[in-house]
């Protein structure tokens, strides 16, 4: 018996579902986020780069097939530093056919744009952005690495927070600010 009809009110399915990926040496970190309300759907790190180039494409293809994102977000290689640019370019070259065939628009953002998006709250560093995101999405607190010391290499789990920061930047961006990646 229905006792509380208010509970039946529903919202239509979200129009925006963003798959954000952050390539790292071993593979890539990813998040799937839905907008309005902002909900984190899935997140994780996929280790694929050491297996084969095709493995990353296969793994990303399964994510696209499963979540049917309306946008894919990735760091802008042209705005990155030299080594980072090389690794982003290599990753994108490996998955370019998949991205082209999926038909999902790909958007790119630079680190500077992420800092601007979070900067209004006085949050500038990667660690501070990650901590702010963990506060907003408590479900990923267990994945939050300890702040990095200068002699440490970056924890691979940070790629989840990087991917999430790009997704949030994309959703916060005005449509005019959104920049389509050039398909290779």
């Amino acid at each position: 018996m229905i006792t509380n009809t208010d509970a039946w009110t529903y919202e239509p399915l979200p129009k925006d579902r963003v798959l954000s990926i952050d390539p790292v040496a071993r593979g890539y970190g990813f998040v799937v986020v839905e907008a309005e309300p902002l909900v984190l759907i899935d997140w994780g790190v996929r280790t694929c780069a050491r297996k084969s180039a095709a493995h990353c494409e296969l793994s990303l293809g399964s994510l696209i097939g499963r979540y049917e994102p309306t946008a894919i977000v990735i760091e802008d290689p042209s705005e990155s530093r030299m080594l980072r640019r090389a690794s982003l370019d290599a990753f994108l070259a490996g998955v370019s056919d998949l991205l082209a065939s999926s038909g999902v628009p790909v958007f790119t953002y630079s680190r500077a744009q992420v800092r601007i998006a979070f900067g209004s709250g006085g949050i500038w560093t990667k660690d501070a952005i990650a901590a702010a995101l963990a506060e907003r999405f408590p479900e990923i607190i267990p994945r939050l690495p300890k702040p990095r010391r200068f002699f440490d290499s970056e924890d691979v789990r940070m790629s989840i927070f990087d991917a999430l920061s790009f997704a949030v930047t994309h959703l916060a961006a005005d449509h005019r600010e959104r920049r389509h990646a050039v398909r290779r």
Binding site: Y10, P12, R17, I41, Y67, E139
Partner: protein
């Protein structure tokens, strides 16, 4: 997205193996198939999910709910119109009131 089973499981921090145990299932593969929408859980399992995550089924299977809600809304409106055309007894009035509540609640938010 048809279901959000994986989202709620990951939010809980439970592994598929642990959830399989909680649901009283034997094989983890089943939970994986439910999450990938390759298999529909049995009624007992569905109620198990609802109980464990404390989330109503229409939120766990939001895609399915949003699929069927417009149909229910249409049929509720049709039935309400048909009943409105009938002689207004107490029983008919009760049905119409109930259907109006269903219609109101199934109207998607703009």
């Amino acid at each position: 997205l048809r279901n959000y089973l994986k989202t709620y499981r990951k939010r809980s921090g439970l592994s598929q193996r642990e959830l399989t145990y909680l649901l009283g299932q034997k094989h983890r593969a089943k939970v994986s198939r439910y999450e990938r929408n390759e298999r529909t859980p049995a009624l007992r399992t569905l109620i198990g999910y609802e109980t464990i995550f404390r989330v109503v089924l229409r939120d766990l299977f939001r895609g399915v709910f949003v699929d069927i809600a417009p149909g229910i809304l249409d049929r509720a409106r049709t039935l309400s119109r048909v009943l409105d055309g009938q002689q207004r007894t107490r029983a008919v009035g009760q049905k119409v009131d109930f259907l109006n509540k269903v219609i109101e609640s199934l109207r998607p938010k703009p």
